[in-house]
């Protein structure tokens, strides 16, 4: 795939200084690459309502960049980053992405969190031919030459979890609750098709609330009336705090009433409080408590850099993958050129991923395992189930649209 880069490298004049290839050879499109440095952008919300979620991603990306630099950098160049604030405002994301690409000529952008911010940035990275590493689990229905999706798309995240809970708990009836925007709606659409067509079960309720909503009493009453086997939720952000507290106050005991969430990570539990959500199941690809050698090195390194009290959720881990995958792809392509990186991405594998092992698919999403964890009182998840194999990413799932 990166063949175009090979002749250029073999034509290098003199490999005089170690084996650092000449800038002219690895950067033919005028990116911010010098003989000693390469600049990337970090674009998340450091202020506004999303800051609480996106701070983890910023921290993870900075950690990855520091580790890569400590290990010698990328093609012999240290990574320098320029951080911009999207301020939880989608047009600001678009404006800052344009600034990073046009003014700063960054070689890649690690950024975005919400689907709305990605949708705002996507036309910009496509127009100016940038490379975006996007960390959040998301709704799918998208694929771009200029984006690597390091989180899971909806079918990857949801289907295995539903299969597991149907088998394990004999669940037949499901109640869906979500925040009212594209990700929960698309996720629930996929979940509904899977429940009805594959599991032969029934969806007994589907309710949406605006972002930031804090009154869930009416839907909790409906849950009590319909008595579903499983409550399936994709409520996001601060609303979760109210939702789980009200659920508990209404006397719904999560130890007896199975609840499967695809939106609560360790970060959210920090706000919800472990005692309010203990017993709930979460379905995603990473938990801080994962027991593998990579994760055992990653968690202490993260805490050393950002403090003992920080927790690491699914998206934070996916954000950590971004700079590493970019480095590995640059080295495979032998070039910083975006076209060559886009072409070389499929097949790039990262064996040091805290979640275990990931590989980039032809559609620029990641092959990854899906896991189910049960929330504990201390705010951590206990791993209950993981898929035997990597799950294939399928952003345009047939039969689920």
């Amino acid at each position: 795939m990166g063949m175009a880069a090979l002749p250029a490298i073999s034509m290098l004049p003199r490999q005089s200084f170690a084996d650092v290839p000449a800038t002219a050879a690895v950067n033919t499109t005028g990116l911010a690459v010098t003989d000693t440095e390469v600049t990337v952008g970090i674009l998340h919300s450091a202020t506004g309502t999303m800051a609480i979620s996106e701070t983890g991603s910023i921290e993870a990306e900075k950690l990855a960049i520091e580790q890569i630099n400590a290990a010698g950098g990328v093609l012999g160049r240290k990574i320098k980053f320029i951080q911009e604030d999207g301020a939880s405002d989608w047009p600001t994301f678009a404006e800052k992405a344009k600034k990073l690409l046009v003014n700063d000529k960054v070689a890649a952008i690690m950024g975005c969190w919400t689907s709305a911010s990605r949708k705002a940035v996507l036309p910009v990275v496509e127009q100016y031919n940038g490379m975006l590493y996007y960390p959040t689990f998301y709704e799918g229905l998208e694929q771009s030459k200029n984006v690597i999706y390091t989180g899971q798309e909806a079918t990857q995240q949801i289907l295995a979890g539903l299969n597991w809970i149907a088998k394990e708990k004999g669940a037949k009836t499901f109640f869906f609750i979500g925040s009212d925007y594209i990700w929960p709606r698309t996720s629930n659409k996929i979940a509904r098709k899977h429940v009805e067509n594959v599991l032969k079960g029934k969806v007994v309720g589907e309710e949406y609330y605006p972002l930031g909503n804090t009154q869930f009493n009416s839907v909790i009453n409906k849950i009590k009336l319909t008595k579903p086997d499983v409550i399936f939720t994709d409520v996001v952000g601060g609303s979760n705090v109210a939702f789980y507290k009200q659920l508990k106050a209404a006397g719904i005991d999560l130890a007896k009433q199975p609840l499967l969430t695809i939106s609560v990570t360790e970060d959210e539990i920090d706000g919800i409080g472990g005692e309010n959500i203990a017993g709930a199941y979460a379905c995603m690809k990473y938990f801080q408590s994962l027991d593998n050698a990579n994760n055992k090195a990653f968690v202490p390194a993260f805490k050393k850099m950002w403090g003992e009290k920080t927790v690491i959720g699914d998206v934070t881990q996916a954000a950590y993958l971004g700079p590493w995958l970019w480095k590995l792809t640059v080295e495979k392509a032998g070039s910083f050129d975006v076209d060559k990186i886009a072409a070389a991405s499929p097949g790039v594998e990262f064996k040091g991923a805290p979640e275990g092992y990931v590989r980039i698919h032809e559609n620029h999403h990641l092959w990854s395992k899906t896991r189910v964890g049960r929330a504990k009182l201390d705010g951590q998840f206990e791993l209950i189930y993981e898929t035997a194999d990597l799950v294939e990413p399928d952003p345009f799932p047939k039969g689920y649209q």
């Binding site: 911009e84 301020a87 678009a94 003014n103 689907s115 709704e139 009212d180 925007y181 709606r185």
Partner: protein
């Protein structure tokens, strides 16, 4: 300009200076990326201009101008989105030929109220008429019942909140919280490349000056004087036989139409429209631009908008984690120290000096006074 009904001399100089700044200085000194940012800032200047008439002269504080900015912007964005959603651009969807967010929300046919937006003529009319009529309805309902002051401000806030919830909730029809993204062409003309950005910038500056002229006309006409009289002593105007409500409705509608033009310009220049410009916070921000610039000054409002937005971009680029504090500090400082905003600083400190300079030079045999007034140049920079 011999007609004194529109400008006095210092106003004319002010408008010319603004024209030089926007048409000559900024395009020559800024690259296209920054110029496009200025174009974005200037879309808010339309709103600020409307607020000068409605709030500064008429005394009607509206905290819901985002509603009209949004209506204008969405009208424009609907047209652009339809054009970007041609069958060949959207063939990956289950239903090709409709906007992508409709497809994600399982809508299989274009809703009836979207259809007229295939026509540019209809769209341009809608940009003016939809917000205008909406303002007329709100204004009539409120002012005929003599609702004013704080109550009116609160109701405009409620309208802003309602419209945001409506847009976010009806995402199949409006794009929801994501808004309408990826707008590409206007009648086949690509609005994204650099040269298009430059053309759009000058087009926008042209529209802005038309609006400034209208504002100047309103201000210097009898209408403007009645607005001021109404602000100062509403009862006296009423007892003199004027229909206060109708004048208020008029000022409110003008402000709404200006805001809507700004919104449409925003969709064109930024290629984007989202509910984050409709709600309460952006509406209040727009009032702040006017307050910083000086709510009694047409030109002050434009400089205020530019200054606040330059500060916003500059601070957020230099201090991504702390910039909001800097911006907050700036607002507090301006409001505490200069209640009449930039225009107040200009009028109290700069203008008298220039006048003194001019009169002292004039007494000398050959006075190059135009030079000095231009050199003392742009206020507040």
């Amino acid at each position: 300009m011999t007609d004194n009904r529109f400008f006095n001399r210092s106003e004319l100089i002010g408008i010319l200076m603004l024209a030089v700044l926007l048409v000559v200085v900024l395009p020559l000194t800024l690259d296209v990326f920054r110029l496009n940012l200025v174009a974005k800032y200037l879309t808010y200047a339309f709103v600020a201009l409307g607020l000068v008439i409605c709030w500064g002269y008429g005394g009607i504080l509206s905290l819901g101008q985002g509603v009209f900015f949004g209506l204008g912007g969405y009208c424009m964005a609907m047209f652009l989105k339809l054009e970007a959603s041609s069958v060949e651009n959207t063939k990956i969807q289950s239903t090709p030929g409709i906007p992508d967010f409709m497809d994600w929300n399982q809508i299989t046919a274009l809703p009836f109220f979207w259809k007229p937006f295939n026509s540019l003529t209809f769209t341009i009319a809608a940009i003016i008429l939809v917000p205008g009529i909406f303002a007329l309805i709100i204004g009539t309902a409120m002012f005929k019942r003599r609702v004013g002051g704080t109550y009116f401000a609160i109701i405009t806030q409620a309208v802003a909140a309602i419209l945001t919830i409506l847009i976010v909730g009806q995402q199949g029809y409006t794009g929801g919280i994501n808004g309408m993204t990826d707008l590409r062409t206007l009648k086949g003309w690509d609005i994204r490349p650099d040269h298009a950005k430059i053309v759009l910038y000058f087009f926008e500056v042209g529209c802005l000056f038309v609006c400034i002229m209208i504002a100047q006309f309103v201000r210097h006409s009898k209408l403007g004087r009645i607005l001021v009289a109404m602000r100062e002593k509403e009862d006296r105007v009423r007892f003199s036989g004027y229909s206060v409500a109708n004048f208020k409705i008029f000022a409110f509608c003008i402000a709404a139409v200006f805001a809507a033009i700004g919104g449409a310009m925003f969709a064109l220049n930024v290629g984007f429209m989202s509910p984050s410009f409709v709600g309460i916070v952006p509406s209040i921000e727009m009032v702040i631009y006017t307050a910083v610039g000086g709510r009694l000054s047409i030109l002050g409002a434009i400089y205020g908008t530019l200054l606040v937005n330059f500060a916003k971009t500059g601070l957020s680029e230099s201090f991504p984690e702390l910039w909001l504090f800097g911006l907050g500090g700036l607002f507090i400082a301006v409001v505490l120290a200069f209640p009449n905003g930039l225009a107040g600083i200009w009028g109290d400190y700069v203008q008298p000096r220039i006048d003194r300079l001019i009169s002292s030079r004039k007494s000398k045999p050959d006075g190059g006074w135009t030079d000095s007034s231009v050199a003392d140049g742009a206020p507040a920079e």
